[in-house]
Symmetry: C2
Subunit: 244 residues, 2 copies
DNA sequence: TTGCTCCTCACGTCACGTGAGGTGGC
DNA sequence: TTGCTCCTCACGTCACGTGAGGTGGC
């Protein structure tokens, strides 16, 4: 038989057959005067054995080990088939989880647009007027928050939904947002400390679910984005939150 | 931020970050005097965007296409997420099927031992005596049949179970097997023709489920294994079966 | 001063796929 | 004589992993 014929019978390509020869999985058959490989029954049997295991997902190294020690008992073969099945179980679970998240994200319409997502959320809560846009600095902040939060902006919005949905909370949160936006270098230390304390009291403690992000990194990121006064305010707030 | 810091925040390795730079997925950030990359908020945002899509299984080429045309609508993004999910569905199905076959084979104890499987089957049907071994030539034939049959030897045995399990059939099948084994070069053409006709009448038509194997290939394989008389017998049988 | 992180090549991974350039077989 | 199959390099795939050999930063 020619290489194309045995390949067809084994259900693999000729390239795969040559590959198995080159790595020693299947011995080279005899050659004719033209250099063509001539396969006999044993050669086909050896090839099909390998092709079957490959089709089941067994790596070449494992197949080689099995061929090197043909006295390996059936028990051991059953065991390795079972362990391949177990590995597949794990992979199927991972893929299923990813698929479910993909379907969620495809339906949520908020993936990859953190600023728009936040704008919509704030408008729905009347923190922004229907036609009012988010200030540029806060759009950047939204993208950063989205990047740092494992669940992205929609996860953040979900997490903050309790606060944003609470009408009573909004009556005192809105003025705080105004005061935060008004901070500049002319704000006095006393003002900053009072605002920091007020904000720390008002804001919910971040749930431990989100892995803690090194505050030094956040500081580095925001360093060139905030005014010195805002940076001092953030530090005061963080200290106040930590004591909480 | 350093490359290690952004990599940690994005949940990837530093090598992956450099790779994204080298293929143009994430722009190179500014460098310090020491040659170190210095990442700012935008750089982190760009990196996390890519890392999220990669974690969802989107190929780099697709991510690049999406970045090249940022005006691509949310609809299109939802669509590609959905199509990724659909691809995963297919892969999950394939993996589940393979896993099930692995579990079957692990339990069947007959994978990879066609001759032993056939010996057991024949002993159970009393075609072989309990201690009688399969003749060497028939062991080879069993391995070849196993290799050529898509379901392997256990599939073949299952397929032949109806015939082997039928006590009445065995009463006339056993003598036919004896007559087949006795064929040699002294057998006359008439004898061969009669035996071929008898065998063709007795054997079940192979079910069409098994993909037909080119008879010329089988002939090549058996050419050096059978005596000329046996080859003639096979040809006569095949002709008789085809007419059936 | 000692680790630790960073830098840039550049080869390795895994199981073949895919030409490139040439020759034998029906 | 014309396709078709076969032959042997040898690079390509995919997304990085892994040293190798060297230097800056805390």
């Amino acid at each position: 038989l020619s290489i194309g014929e045995v390949a067809g019978l084994a259900g693999v390509t000729t390239r795969a057959v040559r590959h198995y020869h080159s790595v020693g999985l299947v011995p080279e058959p005899a050659r004719g005067s033209s250099g063509y490989r001539h396969y006999r029954a044993e050669d086909l049997v050896a090839l099909v054995r390998v092709a079957r295991l490959r089709a089941l997902g067994m790596p070449i190294a494992d197949i080689r080990a099995r061929i090197a020690t043909p006295e390996m008992s059936e028990m051991t073969l059953s065991d390795s088939l079972r362990s391949l099945a177990d590995e597949l179980d794990g992979e199927i679970q991972r893929l299923s989880a990813t698929r479910d998240r993909l379907r969620d994200l495809a339906g949520s319409e908020s993936f990859g647009n953190p600023a728009d997502t936040l704008t919509r959320a704030l408008r729905a809560r009347r923190v922004l007027e229907p036609e009012q846009e988010l200030p540029a600095a806060e759009r950047t902040a939204a993208e950063l928050l989205d990047a740092l939060h494992p669940g992205g902006m929609s996860g953040l919005v979900d997490q903050a939904a309790g606060l944003l949905g609470d009408q009573e909370a909004m009556t005192w949160l809105a003025p705080l947002i105004e005061r935060f936006r008004a901070v500049d270098d002319r704000s006095s230390d006393t003002e900053l400390e009072v605002l920091a304390a007020d904000l720390a009291r008002a804001l919910p403690r971040p749930p431990q679910a989100a892995p803690p992000i090194d505050t030094a990194l956040v500081d580095k990121l925001l360093g060139d984005r905030l005014s010195p006064a805002q940076r001092r305010l953030m530090h005061l707030m963080r200290r106040a939150m930590d004591r909480k």
